[in-house]
């Protein structure tokens, strides 16, 4: 399980890639992450083949800057989805990347997904 991220954008992307893979492995659910810029949710990391199930995308704002998109989020057991979102919010904010241009050296951890 992902246990920490550093602060650069590339590190964040790697962390989110790993998280998306873990969610897929654990729950069989595709997720990807986006940067939110006005109306635009711009792909950042996660499953590039996401969307194969042809269900409407479920969007969750993690912070004002970052969002999670999934086409099968409801398949994650009740309570676990909220916990994952909460952990991701904490990780992103803790890493100082909730807003662009912030350079922080703090390290955050994400709770176990399972």
């Amino acid at each position: 399980m992902a246990s920490g991220i550093s602060t650069s954008r590339e590190d964040l992307k790697r962390f989110l890639d790993r998280t998306a893979q873990q969610i897929l492995d654990t729950y069989g659910v595709e997720v990807w992450f986006a940067e939110i810029m006005g109306r635009r949710w711009s792909y950042l990391a996660g499953r590039k083949q996401g969307g194969a199930t042809l269900l409407p995308p479920h969007r969750i704002e993690l912070t004002g800057r970052y969002g999670l998109v999934s086409d099968g989020w409801e398949r994650i057991p009740a309570g676990r989805g909220e916990a994952i979102v909460s952990s991701l919010r904490e990780a992103i904010r803790g890493a100082g990347v909730a807003r662009p241009g912030l350079g922080s050296t703090s390290v955050a951890s994400v709770s176990r997904l399972r």
Partner: protein, 503 residues
Amino acid sequence: MEGGLALDSREQDWVGSVIKEDEITRYLTDGDDFIDDDALWAQIRGNRNPDPGRIRDILQKSLAIETLALDETAALLNVEDRPLWEEIFETAGAVKRKVYDNRIVTFAPLYCSNFCVNNCRYCGFRRDNRIERRRRLSQEEVRNEARVLAGEIGHKRLIAVYGEHPLSDARYIADTIRAMYKVKQETRNGFGQIRRVNINAAPMCIRDLEMLREVGIGTYQVFQETYHHETYRHVHPAGTLKADYRWRLYALHRAIEAGVDDVALGVLFGLYDWRFEVMGLLCHAHDLERRFNGLGPHTISFPRLEPAAGTPFTREKQYCRISNEDFRKLVAILRLSVPYTGMILTARERADVRREVLPLGCTQTDASTRIGIGAYSDRYDQQEAERQQFILGDTRSLDEVIRELADDGYITSFCTAGYRCGRTGEHIMKLLRSGKEGRFCKLNAVLTFREWLDDFASEPTKQAGERVIRRELEEIRQQMPSAHPQLMEYYRRIEDGERDLYF
């Protein structure tokens, strides 16, 4: 500046501040850009008289949604056999349907300012053109334009266009985009909004592009105009900002680096030999794919040079007029060369030409088009050359165009879903190449077409549209049974007046 009206000191200062040399040199390879004119001509000449078997292999590669190599496109450019050309045209259409299904996305241009510091020989906006009436829309005027487009015509997607000038710098562009996105107009059965604003603007530095990214632009479009170095020098006078070939060539590289991951290529066909320009576009796509993890152009545009007021270039001998037959060929070859990309056919072309070229792989087109500054809210019907960049070939209304598309078996789509749910950049490239995006296109086309028919269609167009929708719903029921129930739920909610539901 060469032979033009002098810039004032503010304009001069601005021109001097735009180009950042290090944002060009970082992309060069051993000091060279990626367009080697001699090598491209060598490819074209070296692939003459291609074997039909080889051509059919190339067509199969396109059908597998793989970008062609330069020598493969060069071979297509050299086909002379007429029946083989028919196979090429047919395959181009098949590739488009495989990637995008039978939908055509519609949009409208919104010209915001025609002040320009450049002096491009072919352009009605050029600085020396004294008969052009200059105007820059205020933010309120931009909103008025958007209100007509979203609330009366029914467009959801715009391409905002700006001359290169300090009056229309990145800050102005960002403000206009915010203004367009704010508009929300009541319609017959719901409400109209601009959901995606793409921009056609001059090359910018990374910092300015980051500013545009932050306001949520859709696609950033910069046409190279011509990839041929010498022709580029000839038509863009020395000393002007646009004279810098490489600043323009790497505009989209900078955009991607700035986080704008939907970028669009284009050539102004007619400045130089069309076969060379097709090769140039392919080189550009290759370089983007190579440097940015497979991320190629979101769209390619292929406008043909049109006459413009006070602009004698189209009467000069350097003008390489593209015949309708060659135009069909270049569109089909572009479709096959970069099979995943969107392809934009505009109202520069006459209605009959558009109808003939659309089946060769085009994915987007404009309608109800006005290209004068403030032309939508001024409500003038006749074209006015002195406030347009060029003369349009097709001024039909969106309603008329949609009816014709429906009669020809296309569904008009107003879909803007992808860029609002992270299907952009690398993600959408994967989905396009795998053929998955086409299924979203089909679903979202039905939903957005339903909205438009209920809100804006005339009775004859509505009838034509209903026939298309019935057929599409049946195809979806058969081909995508798992998606059908959710689609129908959304469909009914839209019939009841809800808007902007999407897959």
